[in-house]
Structure formats: structure tokens, C-alpha cells
């Protein structure tokens, strides 16, 4: 079932075209990875869906309603967006951070009810934060900190979750920690779209991939449809070998060396 559609989106920034004629569809309950070279507009795509930027032309429809018809608050109940480098203010604890996720559901005369407590507790449980609840966010390791932010996003209780490079700054241990947490989110019924550079992790965890290059969507579909030698070579201007992991046959991309050292 379709959650969101983008139709013929054109977007330019500082008079430079970022997107031309981009159309995508997101179905419910999927983990969708956005891949592509640096500066290709992957983050911009998320920002357009999160209404942090407005397209020059084209239509974005969420649950059958144009995005432009949502107020920021109404949209925040449907779509949660985690920027690439969120700012953690000094002194804020993990518990407080997760509680911020309830902001769009609260008002001046309704600051904390059963639903808020329940959602925050679920998020804390799912992201396994019970032990570090009272620690300042700034004191956490990279993986823990990312889990705390993911819990805030979860507490927001939206159907669609957008994550901008949630694993980029992490070593493989923490990267897996975060990808597993994201898988828990998808298993609990969320639709998650994330920008990701690590193609191996993308291939292992994502249900669908969207490849973005040359200002437009180059390919989209299942992992095996998108991760092909021709497409990857073309997308990143490389010459790669694609191997298949012994455990689950997930494709692993290994770039060939272009200049050979003297023997």
C-alpha cells in the first residue's frame, strides 16, 4: 500500500538544478535505502519529504493529501526526520531527549498524558536505553547516542521515518547496533527511509533501494535489481566486483584498484 508518492519533482538550490523529474513511491512497512554518490541530492530528497525544503514544481502526496496542505505540526505527527548531525544541547539526558519526541502531540494544556508515557516507554524499551536513561546525551558513545535519537524519533509515533546517514560516523560494531535498532523499528510497523553510503549494509538490511545520480532517480527496486555491476559502475564511476556473502547471498561490492603498484 502506498504511503507517499513524489511526482515529477523539480528542485533547484541557488539556481543550480538538484533534481529533475524525480518520481518515487514509498510503500508501507518497508526499509528503503537511498544510495548514490556524494552531492547527488540524497539528503535533499529527505528534506523535501520532511517539508524542510519546498520543490519548485511537482507534487508530493502523503496518504493521499498533498504535503503542502499539512501544517508543520500535523506533518510532525506523520513524518519524523532525523538530520545527519543533530545537535545535542549540553546537559540534556537521554530520557529528556526521548520525551522531546512527543512535542507534536502535546500542547500548552496537554503536556503529559498516558499516551506520552506509553510511547516514550516503548521507544526506550525498543532502543534498549533503560540503563543509560539518566546520562547526558553528550557523554554517550556514537552508537548509544544514535540510539537515543532514534528513540526520540520513535516516540514521535509517526508512520514514516526519515534518517539522514544514521550510520555514517560509526565503526562497524556501532553501525550494526544502529542498523539492528532500525530493523526493530521496521518490524514494529514503521516505514523507514534512510540515506546510506555503505552498500553492503544497505544490501543486507534494506527491502528496497533507490539509487540517485545525475539529478534524478537512476534505479529503484529490490536490492538485487539495483545492485548490479553496470548500475554501480555507472552510478559511482567505478569498476567494481560484486561478490555474494556466504551467509545470506547479500551482494558485497568491492571496487577494483585502478592504478597498480609496481611489483
Amino acid at each position: 500500500m502506498t504511503l507517499l508518492t513524489m511526482n515529477n519533482i523539480d528542485f533547484s538550490y541557488n539556481e543550480q538544478s538538484v533534481f529533475h523529474n524525480v518520481s518515487i513511491q514509498l510503500s508501507r512497512g518497508k526499509l528503503v535505502g537511498i544510495v548514490g554518490p556524494n552531492g547527488g541530492g540524497k539528503s535533499t530528497l529527505l528534506k523535501l519529504i520532511a517539508k524542510q525544503m519546498e520543490p519548485n514544481s511537482g507534487a508530493i502526496t502523503l496518504k493521499g493529501t498533498p504535503l503542502s496542505r499539512y501544517s508543520m505540526k500535523a506533518l510532525a505527527k506523520q513524518v519524523a526526520y532525523l538530520p545527519q548531525h543533530p545537535l545535542s544541547p549540553a546537559g540534556i539526558t537521554v530520557e529528556q531527549l526521548v520525551q522531546y519526541g512527543r512535542h507534536p502531540h502535546q500542547g500548552w494544556f496537554n503536556q503529559w498524558n498516558e499516551k506520552d508515557a506509553e510511547q516514550v516507554n516503548q521507544a526506550i524499551e525498543l532502543m534498549q536505553l533503560a540503563d543509560i536513561l539518566q546520562q547526558p546525551v553528550t557523554s554517550l558513545s556514537g552508537g548509544q547516542r544514535q540510539r537515543a535519537w532514534l528513540a526520540m524519533i520513535l516516540a514521535q509515533d509517526t508512520d514514516l521515518i526519515l534518517l539522514d546517514e544514521p550510520t555514517s560516523a560509526l565503526d562497524i560494531g556501532h553501525q550494526i547496533e544502529v542498523m539492528e535498532s532500525i530493523s526493530h523499528m521496521v518490524a514494529s510497523g514503521k516505514t523507514v527511509v534512510l540515506v546510506i553510503h555503505d552498500l553492503a549494509a544497505a544490501a543486507r538490511y534494506c527491502d528496497e533501494l533507490i539509487a540517485i545520480g545525475n539529478n534524478t532517480v537512476v534505479a529503484s527496486g529490490s536490492v538485487n535489481e539495483v545492485v548490479t555491476k553496470t548500475l554501480i559502475d555507472d552510478l559511482y564511476d567505478t569498476n567494481v566486483d560484486i561478490l555474494y556473502a556466504p551467509f545470506d547471498q547479500a551482494p558485497v561490492i568491492v571496487p577494483r584498484r585502478q592504478v597498480h603498484a609496481k611489483k
Partner: protein, 371 residues
């Protein structure tokens, strides 16, 4: 459920005082907060902020008692207290209510305004150096008052002109730096430039007039509370109280803005609208604070920093910052009265000394870290 609610409120108003939510007892309240239920509405209050504010308020009351006792004719704080309780001699009453209290009230109102506006701007710009006195708002207010006193309202004190000048400074600042939430450092540096410009223009105006004519404006422009009556401080206090509900309204969003523009926006905050509103409020508050005793530095920077420290950064400490601003300015003013006696020295000079030391400590400590 909601149907039942609407029924009960229609039938009797008394029913709404009984909590309709039976499961409230199982509700887990966030750590460190009190939850207040009032009919259908519920509120969260940060425990630490309440306690800090209560302590600061009592300190301020004691401070006021001490401030009215100190001076060339000595009073004991006890006899000052008796005067407040309506149980003192006529002499003491005149001393307290006619001579000393007007100045103390002016100092407290100005200090609270400066502390509050400093907290608003620092949080908005995400930079501790971004205070109204740094970015030219206070100097803009000063320029406007100087201009109006010298050329338009000769004789009467044009305190109401302060917001005009402050807005002028803010508009110039905005034309030069459009995104204060993301370019905090640039905002501060440009602000210092605007501030200097405003001050220079004001001093130029004063230097074209004869010294007798400008002496009172000049004294005021150094930050001075000598001979303050209620004529400025009471209307200013009234206006500040009128602005308070708006500040309370925006304080929820201000707390979310601490997470950065992008995150706040994705949590449903209309960032552009909220930023602009809070900045306008902060400028109004700062300008009104300046109108009383002139452009006073240090308070707007120090009070929010100390207040954040007191509440352990858990929330944006607007009210603690206001109380601390009042307390700090009262301390500076009383100190200057005691030290300079029998001369009259501008309070602004004392805050400048304290502020200079604090700024150096702050910059040197921060030299290594980026945040």
C-alpha cells in the same frame, strides 16, 4: 471518551474538578518533573527550576531589604522590614519609600529585563556571547533615547523611544546576517559592529551639544540609576508584565529549538515564525530594560549562564535568569553606592568591570572547546 468529557463539562462545571481519567495513578511522570492536573488540562513543571526560582526570589527579597538599608544614613534591615510592614517612624518611611526604594525598584526591573532578554537571545542564537548588549540592541535603544531627548522631547524622558532604536539595530543586523539560528558566531561579530556604530552615532550627537545640556543623557548612557523615580520603571514594569504571557507561550518551542533548527522543524515547530517572534520579544524586553538605567552590560550575559548552571541545563531557565539578572544588578548597584560614597558613580561602570572579567574568563575557558 471525549464524548463523555464534553457531556460532563456541559452539565456541571463542578464535575471538571474531579479527574475523569481513572488510570492517572498508573501514569509515569518524567524524572525531575511535577505533573499538575487541572480539570482536562495537565502541565509539567521542572522541579529544579521551581526550587531555584523560589530560592532566588527569597534572595532577591532579602537583597532589596539590604539595599534599602545601605546608604549615607544607615538603617538596619530590620527597621527597613518594619517600614515595609507599615510599622516604622515617619523618617524611616521617607528614607525607605521616597529616597531609596524608587532606585531599588528601577534596578530590579531593569536587571530582570536584561537577564530575561539575554536568556532569550542566547538560546535562540545558540551562543552565550549573543546578548542584547553585545549585538547592538541596547545601543540602538540608547541612540533612540539620546536622539529624542536632544531634539524632540526636550525635558521629558522618552523611555518609550527605546524599542524604536532597538528595532532599528535589529533590522540592520538582520539585513547583514539572515539566519541567526545557524550562524551564531557571525551574528555576534556583526552585532558587535552594529553596536559600535550605534554608540558612535549617539556620542557624536551628544558632542554637538553644550555640556550642560547633555550631562544627564550622558550620565544615563553610561548606565546610571541615580535619582531614579517611578516615572520610568513603573510603566516599563507594566509593559514587561504584558509581554510575559507571550514569552510563556513561546517558551515550549524555545526549549525544542535547543535541538537545532532542523530537528525543531521536524518536531512540528514553525521555526521561522517562532524565531522571529522570540527575537522581537527579546528586543522589546531588552529595550525596555535599557530605557530605565541606560545600556548596562554583563547582566544579560551572566544571568542566563548562571541560571543554566543552577538548573543543570535541563530547561531554558527564563524566569531564573530574570531573577538572577535583578539580583546581579542590585548587587552591582548597591556595591557601587557603598564603594563610591559620597560620590555618585555610574552603575554601568561597575557591571562593565565585572562583565569584562567574566568575558575574559569565559573566552579563555572556551578557547579549547568549540561548543
Amino acid at each position: 471518551m471525549s464524548y463523555e468529557h464534553s457531556l460532563s463539562t456541559e452539565q456541571t462545571t463542578a464535575a471538571s474538578s474531579v479527574s475523569p481519567l481513572a488510570s492517572t495513578s498508573s501514569l509515569i511522570t518524567p524524572t525531575g518533573k511535577w505533573r499538575l492536573q487541572c480539570g482536562q488540562s495537565n502541565f509539567l513543571v521542572e522541579k529544579r527550576a521551581v526550587i531555584v526560582s523560589a530560592v532566588l526570589l527569597s534572595m532577591l527579597l532579602v537583597g532589596i531589604l539590604i539595599a534599602v538599608s545601605v546608604g549615607s544614613a544607615k538603617l538596619t534591615p530590620l527597621s527597613a522590614l518594619q517600614a515595609f510592614l507599615g510599622d516604622a517612624s515617619r523618617m524611616v518611611n521617607i528614607m525607605v519609600f521616597k529616597i531609596r526604594l524608587p532606585r531599588v525598584v528601577a534596578v530590579v526591573v531593569a536587571g530582570a529585563a536584561l537577564g530575561l532578554s539575554g536568556c532569550l537571545v542566547q538560546t535562540l542564537v545558540r551562543n552565550r556571547l549573543a546578548t542584547p548588549d553585545m549585538i547592538g540592541v541596547n545601543e540602538g535603544a540608547t541612540l533612540a533615547i539620546t536622539f529624542f531627548t536632544l531634539y524632540i522631547t526636550v525635558g521629558a524622558w522618552p523611555w518609550w523611544a527605546a524599542p524604536i532604536g532597538a528595532m532599528l539595530a535589529a533590522v540592520i543586523l538582520f539585513l547583514l546576517c539572515k539566519n541567526p539560528g545557524e550562524q551564531g558566531y557571525l551574528f555576534v561579530v556583526i552585532g558587535i559592529g552594529v553596536s559600535e556604530l550605534m554608540r558612535a552615532v549617539g556620542e557624536f550627537m551628544m558632542s554637538t551639544e553644550s555640556i550642560v545640556h547633555v550631562s544627564s543623557v550622558y550620565m544615563w548612557s553610561m548606565g546610571n540609576f541615580v535619582g531614579q523615580g517611578y516615572t520610568t520603571s513603573l510603566p516599563v514594569a507594566g509593559l514587561l508584565l504584558l509581554l510575559c504571557p507571550l514569552i510563556v507561550y513561546f517558551s515550549r518551542q524555545l526549549n525544542v529549538l535547543r535541538l537545532g533548527v532542523s530537528t525543531a522543524q521536524s518536531l512540528g515547530v514553525n521555526v521561522n515564525r517562532v524565531q522571529l517572534s522570540i527575537l522581537m520579544l527579546a528586543i522589546m524586553v531588552a529595550a525596555l530594560g535599557t530605557a530605565i538605567g541606560g545600556p548596562i552590560v554583563f547582566i544579560a550575559m551572566a544571568a542566563p549562564i548562571l541560571a543554566s548552571y543552577c538548573v543543570k541545563n535541563r530547561i531554558v531557565p527564563l524566569w531564573s535568569a530574570a531573577l538572577l539578572g535583578a539580583l546581579l544588578l542590585l548587587f552591582s548597584d548597591t556595591l557601587v553606592r557603598v564603594l563610591a560614597d559620597p560620590h555618585e558613580v555610574a552603575t554601568g561602570i561597575m557591571t562593565r568591570i565585572l562583565g569584562g572579567i567574566m568575558l575574559l574568563v569565559f573566552l579563555l575557558r572556551d578557547k579549547g572547546s568549540a561548543d
